[in-house]
Symmetry: none
Subunit: 198 residues, 4 copies
């Protein structure tokens, strides 16, 4: 096999892999984990059942890959937020970004909110999810502290819960929920610190 062939193969493999991942995510979102059969995924991805098992050890592994894939994308966004901004602006940024992400990919967030407390998910992804959650909370705490808020860790938890709760309500009824309004109102709560600490 020439190197070029190997590359072509590699590319094909990657394409198939991503195709499966995307299809699987869409189906998991639509029908849930248990109601989505592996056969369904393979067929929708135009791939033979056997081949799918060539890429993923089993359904659970595929599921985990789907979640981690989305999670890592999202993490990337948050991790890239660092910029030379005031604490208040950073807070704003975190909040705004959170809602922006949800708006861009409500599919995934709906899935995520739906399944994150399922026992299987908790076993499988506990570490990943915990890491992500802690990262966000730490970020919030850090900025709240710089703003001069009392008990910044507790406040960070509350803010995180607020944002998370809003997202949950939004993805439950994306067509009805007045996310814009709520986002604006929430941001306003942290504006009055602007003058003091900028």
């Amino acid at each position: 096999m020439t190197p070029r062939q190997r590359d072509a193969n590699q590319a094909r493999r990657e394409a198939s892999y991503n195709k499966i991942l995307n299809v699987a995510m869409a189906l998991f979102v639509q029908h849930g984990y248990d109601k989505t059969s592996v056969r369904m995924i393979a067929e929708t991805a135009n791939i033979s059942l056997g081949l799918l098992y060539n890429y993923f050890d089993n359904k659970e592994a595929l599921f985990k890959a789907v979640i981690l894939h989305s999670l890592s994308t999202i993490k990337g966004i948050y991790y890239g937020l660092e910029a030379m901004l005031s604490p208040v602006e950073k807070l704003e940024n975190l909040i705004t970004t959170s809602f922006k992400i949800v708006r861009q990919d409500p599919h995934f967030w709906r899935l995520f909110h739906r399944i994150r407390m399922q026992p299987m998910v908790m076993e499988l992804l506990e570490a990943e999810i915990a890491e992500f959650r802690d990262f966000i909370i730490n970020k919030l705490e850090e900025n709240l502290q710089q703003i001069g808020v009392d008990a910044p860790r507790t406040e960070a938890r509350i803010l995180f819960a607020t944002v998370d709760g809003i997202i949950g309500h939004y993805v439950y009824q994306p067509d009805i929920y007045p996310l814009d309004e709520i986002q604006a109102a929430l941001l306003k709560k942290y504006q009055y610190h602007k003058g003091e600490h900028q």
Copy 2:
């Protein structure tokens, strides 16, 4: 059949019914809807498989009954909150009660938070859940308005999201999550209105 016999039967039926309901809830909580088999429920309840179907038409109906049972208990608590209190105290009451309920019955809340976005649940219980949610939001709005908060409906949504988010985080890790601290901090946010509107 003598009346006494009928009564005895009635009692037995009720006992079996409740037994099943409780066991089912515990198992649904622990393993989720799909991973909990009807057989499992029957065995755990020390009941024959057939008998279960004597009380519930099918698995879905049992599930629905489990949810509605808890939901109605909880609704009862909220609906009974009316008392001659100031708006601020009523708000406090709503928040405090929410956390108290969760503490008392974390089982149900974990289940509820886990499954409320599943397609099946949304179909089955959409109306009930919507009614409950609206009731809470309306209550919050009413009191926030009386306190004199601007945009009380939006604030109500935010507060509701905050409480809901906190509950979600608490039931995810009930042993670790500092619920007391957070509850206190949250209440404090609404205290400063006390002097003005009492």
Copy 3:
């Protein structure tokens, strides 16, 4: 227990028994043996499930009783046909009566045609059905012989098959099948013997 009480009891028992029998037949006709549950029969008869088993050992026995009950009624009709008639008139009588019975009780005949070849029925009722069949064939043979037909037994079998076939087709589509016309045409075939042998 006084004799009068015993009689009243006896009467009640008989009433219940017949009720079950009738209800069972109607349901067997409508849904078939396997698709008719014992519970269904008990409920339709306004009788407790347990009581039904007081009257019949099991479902099969009930089914057998249903069939035998109808069969004996029908047999009664045929056995009572004897009258001082000419052979041709007796033949006419047999044919006419057969169709009359079917018209009066298409329920049973539909059931009968449907189930008489089922293995269970064949085991259960072989003797009864054979006796009935032989009785009819013998009757036909006897009269055909008196009319002077050649090979009267064979002719009897053919005539029996014809009548049976017509009945089968009639009960398959009672609303469409032109039974009157066919009955008339069939009778005509045996009319030409009238002058000769009366």
Copy 4:
């Protein structure tokens, strides 16, 4: 996948399919539809339960396939009867063929006579059966008319009922029933027209 592989697969599929079909028919004949379990069919065919569902959507579909398979074979025979014969010979041919088919494949006919009046069958196969029945009756009518019989449609129905009745009695007791004799006698009835219309 190479063409050879695809062919091999195709052949294997067909083999399995036919195996199931044959086994299912034999079992349906022997025990009836309801008393024949899918598991039983799979085991008798030396096939896994799951594989059966690879070929047939469900039990009903399998049953339907069984019936249609035999029905189409039989239809083929009748449809192919056309030849340059006199009407009388054609009639003879129809009758003779009917009995020949039954003798060759008593399995199917027993099944067919047993189940054709079951509600499910009537729904499932009404159209097919009606078409077949009408075809036969029309054929008979056509030839009876050419022979010069009065009311040929009515006569056709009677003849059809006779043949059908005989077949029913034959398949009920194939070992005892004197089919040869009866066939001969029946044919003789249509012989006397021979001179006139040939």
